[in-house]
């Protein structure tokens, strides 16, 4: 049976040129791979920027970078990692591929809109990267573009802002597509509480994409208008209020981090049942907690502004709400640990990444709660403590979950198996390296090392040096993952439809899937993770009728 690699549907009629068959495809599986290709190229670019900074910071004093260049590097690292990689993130790369498969659909509700999302993404990438070679060089404002500096700086901020706006559009359209798909295209019988938890994660994420992104879209547009027309909305010399910029910026950017983690949480909930050979503990509470995190996540943005000059009343409100949002996450972690308890744990590579992510995210999440405490935040704001916090949650959490998901669905996407031993070694390198890279930064930050400075006091040198070594280990580990995936493609064993003996619908179709996913759409009257004595309960015949 031909797979989706052999045949496809395209917009603008049929083409025989293979390149056109990829870039004009409307098949969600190909679009997912198109996203992955661009995203991971950018990811490695941003990692290189980070390693460059770590090299400069290996010793105190100037090594080889100018201060202005350093500012551009951390702006580039932030903009690329956040807007170009992690915001499309798991949803665009894995969600696009897996969502229709998991709900028993043949594609998303709007396949051509999906392709448009990818094209907008590419346009955004090109626009953002263009400022590396045009104007006065890349933006140096930090990825947060705070007014009034972003209005006044000479650096080429316009293209980065425009890029972020275009990427916002891409994100909104993907979110819209997922919301409608999940509402309309679930297989007959699959009600909301029979959906896999990855789908719940994608659903909650989609609503954040839809409702929060427009706010930053218009805010960045206003900064563009400020720079070009002198409108005066955020410019203090014209009566504007930079604090209002921060409010609007963070009204998106805080929910954005939940947009990053919720699909990751979904992956954890998928991987755990498979590698404990039992159903997940507390399915309903995990599902509802995803929605709650999305909901409460809209209310906490002010905790990024505790030292910016907001009122004491607002500070108290935001601190309280920030503590509140930790609760649904705690519920999830409890459910996951309960799933592990008395499960038959298989420490395969995806499982290692997921377990590592839970450890890392717990550290990251708890330090977030620390930052949510007003008194502590006054001391810790703008130090390396904050940077360590969000790297523990985003890199240690989201990226670990992403890589775990890539390993988990690798056989489904490629039809091959990667090397398990190499996989575990890569995980070890990254896990050890990551903690060496970022844990010292909690301490350095607590002791007063500021962030976004191109230099530091000599007493902090040991922390930066340990971090530097850690960074190299992470890079080595990531390259090993890449190498493992490449080798799997070339020489890997055939995976078959269900190498993990998992239960969700995507494992009942061939690897890699055919163009239309399912020869027949099954009727779903079962829970997503039904295991009995460590084996999947549900089985289908070749006409997708349930036999067990």
């Amino acid at each position: 049976m031909p797979s989706f690699y052999h045949e496809t549907n395209t917009v603008f009629g049929t083409h025989r040129n293979p390149v056109l068959q990829w870039i004009f495809t409307t098949d969600h599986k190909r679009i997912a791979l198109l996203y992955m290709g661009v995203m991971f190229t950018l990811f490695f670019l941003a990692v290189s920027a980070a390693l460059t900074m770590r090299a400069e910071l290996f010793y105190p004093g100037q090594q080889f970078l100018e201060p202005h260049t350093y500012n551009q590097l951390f702006t580039f690292h932030g903009v690329t990692m956040i807007f170009l990689f992690i915001v499309p993130g798991i949803a665009a790369a894995l969600g696009n591929f897996v969502l229709p498969l998991m709900i028993g659909a043949r594609d998303l509700s709007f396949p051509r809109l999906n392709l448009l999302s990818w094209w907008l993404y590419v346009l955004g990438v090109v626009t953002a990267l263009s400022s590396l070679v045009t104007g006065n060089g890349f933006a140096d404002t930090g990825w947060t573009f705070y007014a009034p500096y972003s209005i006044r700086t000479d650096a080429h901020v316009l293209s980065t802002l425009s890029a972020a706006f275009i990427l916002g559009l891409s994100s909104i359209l993907t979110g819209l597509n997922f919301v409608v798909t999940i509402h309309r295209l679930r297989a007959p019988g699959m009600n909301f509480f029979k959906m896999p938890l990855f789908v719940w994660g994608l659903y909650s994420t989609a609503w954040i994409q839809v409702l929060a992104t427009p706010v930053i879209g218009i805010t960045l547009l206003l900064v563009i208008l400020e720079r070009t027309l002198g409108v005066g909305i955020f410019d203090p010399s014209k009566g504007g209020d930079p604090l209002l910029y921060e409010h609007l910026f963070w009204i998106y950017s805080h929910p954005a981090v939940y947009l990053m983690i919720l699909p990751g949480f979904g992956i954890v909930s998928e991987v755990l049942p498979v590698f404990t050979r039992r159903t997940i503990f507390g399915y309903r509470s995990i599902a509802i907690s995803s929605a709650s995190i999305a909901g409460i996540g809209y209310l906490v943005w002010g905790h990024h502004m505790f030292t910016s000059g907001i009122s004491d009343m607002a500070r108290v409100i935001f601190s309280f709400l920030t503590f509140l949002v930790a609760i649904p996450t705690g519920v999830k972690i409890f459910d996951w640990v309960a799933t592990l308890y008395k499960g038959s744990i298989v420490l395969a590579t995806p499982m290692l990444w997921i377990l590592g992510s839970i450890v890392n995210f717990t550290v990251g999440g708890l330090t977030g709660v620390t930052l949510g405490a007003l008194g502590a935040d006054i001391h810790l704001h703008d130090t390396y403590f904050v940077v360590a916090h969000f790297h523990y949650t985003i890199l240690g959490g989201v990226i670990f979950m992403f890589i775990g998901g890539l390993h988990y669905w690798y056989p489904k996407i490629t039809g091959k198996l990667y090397n398990e031993v190499v996989g575990r070694i890569a995980f070890g390198l990254v896990f050890v390296g990551f903690n060496a890279l970022w844990f010292p930064m909690f301490i350095a930050g607590f002791l007063g090392n500021p962030r976004r400075y191109f230099d530091y006091l000599p007493t902090f040198a040991p922390y930066h040096q340990v971090a530097g070594i850690g960074g190299l280990l992470v890079a080595a580990g990531l390259l090993t993952v890449l190498f493992n995936f490449y080798r799997g493609l070339k020489n890997g064993k055939e995976a078959g439809p269900n190498p993990w003996r998992a239960t969700t619908l995507e494992w009942h179709i061939p690897s890699p899937p055919p163009l239309e996913n399912f020869s027949k759409i099954p009727y779903v009257d079962f829970e997503p993770y039904e295991y009995e004595k460590g084996e999947p309960v549900v089985q289908f015949d070749e006409n997708f009728r349930r036999v067990r």
Partner: protein, 215 residues
């Protein structure tokens, strides 16, 4: 296209949703899009609210500089145009294609008149030096700079949406000619009607906040 079925364990058939022709899905998708627009304009109204709170008297004085008669006329024009648009879609569903096209054209015409009046207003204001970045405006009170900054951004964004609306209506007319919109398949026209209603909703809030506080 034959309705695909999924069979349960008893052998009973259940219809499978088809994304190729999903009226409810396409309507839901468009509503979700409208919600994104609501959030975008909402953020702008938030900015207006804060600055109005801080500069209430100056905002009122600046509002007096706007032409209430032209703005008011535009309000009525937009209002009536949503009526004709809605009737246009209704006629299409009832199979009265000619009446539908006529009403659609009337709506587009009114939208063009709206833009023309807006252009007259803007050129008058710009002629007086009341535009963002002008030396005249920058020398005025902070409240006035903010008022006109918001005025041009928000009516400008709204105007862009009117232009897009005219483009969409033209597209619908082409689709009616080619059969993409026909009495059995009206979702595109229905969605454009929803869009036009939304454009009107924004104006319903814009008009009093910019024009009526200074009367």
């Amino acid at each position: 296209m034959e309705q695909e079925m999924a069979y349960d364990i008893q052998g009973d058939p259940h219809p499978v949703a088809d994304f190729h022709d999903d009226y409810n899905g396409e309507k839901l998708g468009f509503w979700v899009f409208l919600l994104t627009e609501a959030m975008m304009f909402g953020a702008l109204f938030l900015l207006f609210a804060i600055y109005f709170y801080r500069h209430a008297e100056t905002f009122a004085a600046s509002s007096g500089d706007l032409n209430v008669w032209l703005g008011g006329t535009n309000t009525v024009i937009l209002l009536v145009s949503t009526y004709t648009m809605g009737l246009g879609t209704l006629m299409m569903r009832r199979g009265k294609v000619k009446a539908s096209v006529g009403l659609l054209g009337l709506t587009a015409l009114m939208a063009v008149v709206f833009l023309a009046i807006k252009a007259v207003e803007w050129s008058t204001e710009i002629g007086h030096g009341l535009y963002p970045g002008s030396g005249v405006l920058d020398a005025m009170d902070k409240g006035e700079i903010l008022f006109f900054g918001l005025y041009f951004v928000m009516t400008g964004l709204h105007g862009l949406h009117v232009i897009a609306g005219i483009a969409l209506m033209s597209w619908v007319m082409l689709l009616i000619r080619s059969g993409g919109v026909r009495p059995e398949h009206t979702i595109v026209m229905k969605n454009v009607t929803l869009y036009w209603d939304f454009v009107h909703l924004v104006w319903i809030v814009l008009f009093p906040l910019f024009y009526m506080i200074g009367v």
